[in-house]
């Protein structure tokens, strides 16, 4: 079965190449069980909550009541959904604008200090999310330097929330883009320039396109948590600019209305799934045409 070993020199054996999996699929069962219990389980609970009827404080009777989903369509909740997605989209675009040049500089211009730069990007990410957000509060303070000397007084507005979003999620964008820039073959840029392309069009036609999967991955990595953001709007928006996350929180805690809170959560998930679908479409397209 091992094949014709005698034709190989020095006694090396060659395994017959097989396209069948080498290990039985049953070995994945621990992972699958984990996934089922800790991901699908809570999701199922959330769905059954959203279809239940509220019978009292923190009390529900299970059933198939879709009325909570109809409630989401009231203009108040739609407005908050729209606001959340617009803010997350704007935040993602700003993150690209801020993060791409940093990743590019790190990959292209640094050699000795490349790893140090990478560390400097990552280290703030290891400190508590709350600490970072509260430190922004000091920087953006209406009596702070930014406000006094540059006239940038944006504390407790949506612009402060925007700054908070970009700052907190920047490393999540820089890392995948840095990775794809690192993998890139820079001689392609030289070739483009040799063939008469100027620096900008070489970037646009070669570098940008080759790193697009990294950009899309990074943008998605920041867009999704931004959409579910809860702390940043609360701290930097002064409680006056709610994201869906805050509204869901209010429904579970102060209103003690699990069905509506669950329906809002699922609404957010559906909205986000649309973006993920676009991503998968884009990603597979890249594969098809060979990036």
């Amino acid at each position: 079965m091992v094949g014709d070993t005698k034709t190989l020199p020095e006694g090396r054996t060659r395994k017959r190449r097989s396209f069948h999996p080498r290990y039985p699929a049953v070995l994945t069962s621990p992972s699958l069980i984990y996934y089922a219990i800790f991901f699908l389980g809570p999701l199922a609970i959330l769905v059954s909550f959203s279809l239940a009827t509220q019978t009292g404080f923190n009390a529900i009777s299970y059933g198939f009541d879709t009325s909570q989903y109809h409630l989401i369509l009231q203009s108040l909740w739609l407005k908050i959904f729209e606001r959340t997605l617009v803010m997350a989209a704007a935040g993602s675009i700003l993150t690209i604008i801020v993060g791409y040049p940093i990743a590019y500089w790190m990959a292209r211009h640094l050699s000795t200090y490349k790893m140090l730069a990478l560390m400097l990007v990552l280290v703030p990410f290891w400190t508590s999310f709350l600490i970072r957000t509260y430190s922004l509060k000091i920087i953006l303070d209406s009596n702070g330097y930014l406000a006094r000397y540059l006239g940038i007084n944006i504390m407790y507005t949506k612009y402060a929330i925007g700054v908070g979003l970009v700052y907190n999620y920047l490393p999540l964008f820089i890392i995948p883009v840095f990775a794809s820039l690192e993998r890139m073959d820079w001689s392609l840029v030289e070739a483009a320039e040799d063939l008469g392309s100027n620096a900008f069009s070489a970037f646009r036609q070669v570098t940008f396109r080759l790193t697009l999967p990294g950009i899309v991955t990074g943008a998605l990595l920041v867009f999704i948590p931004m959409s579910g953001e809860y702390i940043i709007p609360d701290i930097l928006g002064g409680g006056k600019y709610e994201f869906v996350g805050n509204v869901i929180g209010d429904q579970f805690t102060s209103a003690q209305n699990q069905p509506f809170g669950s329906a809002l959560s699922i609404g957010l998930m559906v909205a986000l799934s649309a973006f993920v679908a676009v991503y998968i479409l884009l990603a597979t397209k890249e594969e098809r045409f060979g990036a």
Partner: protein
């Protein structure tokens, strides 16, 4: 001034307590200030998670599995248990109160030990009780949670034969609107909602909640204005300002209050119950609502500048309370009664008030606290004010949902 408003009091460490407080301190360090126990914020979820982790290890001592029924008279003659499980707000009772209680003759003889875990919001307490399987003997819900728990049949009717010290309590606090029978709770302490402003900037002298709201749009451009957050604060406080019932169920009242809130919304810089204390002490807030204990700290913090005027409101405002209650499922009801009775003792109440700086309605105790506390109207709020104030209740799921919706609209603008 003997008060140390920034002093951090920490109880003797127990496994869960240490873990929780570590987190609490970390959050405080982040915030750069002491968090008041009434802060829900988004942090409560985090704390809830830790509390949930801690609760798995709480089953210590020898409690009987389930107390059958909640009958009041069934307890007389029963022996004192050797364990007491308390679920409380963090840092809410003087450490010596626990030690002295365990050293009382009967308690010492029974070898009684106390185990305490902590929550950071009523929502968290209600969620825990609702999930079931808890073995708490003592809980400390605020007035709205008391009313809700009575409605849900989760509170034990107290056996007043085991609470002889109830005679010290001001009778006016025995049968409040949230427990009209007075059978299910004993008040722990109370507070009120008031306003404060920077008197170098605000030239008017607002004396009612309505006047406060009307000044907001005028002064928002001059500095930060703030209202307390939460659907259960924003909506009922505005209802009271309009002279309406804070616990109303009427649709027309809700329309009126929505229109009113939206009309003053542009005058509000922040909607927060957590960040206003330190920011006000730093001189960043010019006009705000606040709870009397917090406002007291702010006034003390700005003593040097002397620019903060605190106003106890004429007319209607909020009075809130925290209360000792025993869940029907309490495994150690006799010990729980003994605890409440101990807290009703005037000497204990004096120690407690000096520790947490909230008034306990036991007249013989209030007369014994230091004069700096006793004569301060922000601590010892005169009853000429509180007589007009109302408890805010969770009337029904529909009303609470309606308030939450108005609150969301107010925040969204």
């Amino acid at each position: 001034m003997t008060d140390k408003p920034d002093h951090l009091n920490i109880l003797a460490p127990q496994a869960t307590k240490a873990k929780l407080d570590g987190l609490h301190r970390r959050v405080e360090n982040v915030a750069g200030r002491r968090l008041s126990r009434r802060e829900a914020l988004g942090l409560s979820g985090l704390l809830m998670l830790t509390a949930a982790c801690g609760s798995t290890s709480t089953s210590s001592g020898g409690g009987t599995p389930q107390a059958t029924g909640g009958g009041a008279s069934s307890l007389t003659g029963k022996p004192l248990e050797n364990h007491l499980e308390i679920f409380n707000w963090s840092e809410y009772d003087d450490p010596s109160t626990y030690k002295k209680f365990m050293a009382l003759p009967a308690e010492a003889k029974a070898g009684l030990n106390i185990h305490e875990t902590y929550y950071s919001s009523n929502d968290e307490l209600l969620a825990k009780l609702n999930a079931g399987g808890t073995t708490y003997d003592i809980i400390v819900p605020s007035q709205n949670a008391v009313a809700q728990l009575i409605q849900e049949g989760k509170l034990m009717a107290l056996d007043f034969a085991l609470l002889p010290n109830i005679k010290y309590l001001d009778p006016k606090f025995r049968k409040p609107s949230y427990d009209t029978s007075g059978k299910f709770h004993v008040i722990k302490d109370f507070g009120i909602t008031m306003i404060f402003y920077n008197n170098k900037i605000v030239t008017e002298h607002p004396t009612t909640m309505l006047e406060f709201y009307k000044l907001l749009p005028k002064y928002v451009s001059k500095g930060r204005t703030n209202v307390l957050d939460g659907a259960e604060e924003v909506v009922p406080l505005a209802l009271m300002a309009l002279g309406l019932d804070p616990n109303t169920q009427s649709a027309s009242d809700f329309t009126k209050v929505t229109n009113f809130l939206m009309s003053i919304r542009k005058g509000v810089t922040t909607i927060s119950s957590s960040s206003y204390i330190d920011d006000a002490i730093a001189g960043k807030i010019i006009l705000s609502q606040g709870w009397n204990g917090d406002v007291r700290r702010i006034v003390q913090g700005r003593q040097k500048e002397g620019d903060i005027t605190a106003v106890l409101l004429q007319g209607a405002s909020e009075i809130w309370s925290d209360n000792w209650c025993i869940p029907t499922t309490a495994p150690d009801p006799v010990a729980a009664h003994a605890w409440i009775n101990w807290l009703l003792h005037p000497a204990t109440a004096v120690t407690e008030m000096e520790y947490h700086n909230y008034p306990i309605p036991i007249p013989s105790a209030v007369s014994k606290v230091p004069a700096s506390l006793r004569t301060d109207p922000l601590f010892n709020v005169p009853s000429s004010y509180t007589d007009n104030y109302h408890y805010i209740l969770n009337v029904s799921p529909q009303v609470v949902q309606q308030r939450t919706q108005i609150y969301t609209q107010f925040r969204a603008g």
